[in-house]
């Protein structure tokens, strides 16, 4: 189960001669901004306090991120 819906995963080529045991997969993030060409007007907004906490006024532009250290990666 992915913790972050913006996360993409792939399994890199594994050689039988790799020196180290393979990690399960590689991950990278595709943030929400990649799907917005021009922000439409009148999007729903966070309350001011919530907006400060999230770093953006608009829930649809919020991008979560979880530390790989915290995920045990």
């Amino acid at each position: 189960m992915k913790m972050n819906h913006e996360e993409r995963t792939y399994v890199p080529f594994r050689s039988p001669f790799d020196p180290c045991p393979p990690l399960p997969c590689r991950t990278y993030v595709v943030p929400v901004n990649q799907y917005v060409v021009f922000q439409p007007p009148d999007l729903p907004q966070f309350s001011p306090a919530e907006a400060l906490k999230h770093g953006t006024l608009w829930p649809s532009l919020y991008s979560p991120y979880v530390s790989r250290k915290m995920k045990g990666e």
Binding site: V29, V37, K53, G55, T56, L61, S67, E73
Partner: protein, 189 residues
């Protein structure tokens, strides 16, 4: 000119004594994709960008200085009470030899900041695409920094900064859309 507000854009709390994290955070202070480079890049480019999008560069460039202060605060808090032994153990011995505990515009490897990190091509498309790339690179740097600490309070501030990079990238993309529009074309309806 600017009006200075004597507060941080977002609170910075550091809960774990981890001077080594200061060494890594300095990447966002004086690194190629750091906040200083970002602020100077945008505030310089704004003079030769079409009028319609000058404000975007002006406002984002200004905000980058607010981010620079947040990073500086983190680095200062992480190092101010460190002993010389702790600094050496954290890999900051070379920094101490040159700067004591002073902050310096350098990257995580100790390379001093240089103007060659930033560009000003004078071509609006080229400059705005550089700005978009700079924001995404800064976002990625914040991710790797968040990955390297388990201090949830530092993570909280870094996540705020990461989100701001994402929003800035949207604004630069919108700026590209604005200058792409051909306003000289006469439209007959």
């Amino acid at each position: 000119m600017w009006i200075y507000e004597k507060k941080l854009q977002y609170p910075v709390r550091v809960s774990k004594c981890d001077p080594m994290m200061a060494k890594f955070l300095i990447e966002q202070y004086g690194g190629a994709d750091g906040e200083l480079a970002a602020a100077l890049r945008y505030l310089n480019q704004r003079y030769t960008i079409p009028d319609k999008v000058i404000g975007v560069l002006n406002d984002i460039g200004t905000e980058e200085f607010a981010h620079l202060e947040m990073i500086a605060t983190m680095v200062y808090k992480l190092t101010k009470d460190a002993t010389v032994d702790q600094l050496q153990a954290a890999g900051l011995g070379a920094h101490y030899a040159n700067h004591d505990k002073a902050l310096y515009y350098e990257n995580a490897s100790g390379v001093p900041w240089t103007a060659s990190y930033i560009n000003a091509k004078g071509d609006p498309i080229a400059d705005l695409y550089e700005d978009i790339a700079a924001e995404e690179k800064a976002r990625a740097t914040y991710q790797w920094l968040i990955d390297m600490t388990d201090d949830v309070d530092i993570q909280d501030s870094l996540k705020f900064l990461r989100e701001r990079e994402i929003i800035h990238a949207i604004r630069f993309r919108e700026a590209v859309e604005i200058i792409k529009e051909d306003r000289a074309t006469r439209k007959i309806f």
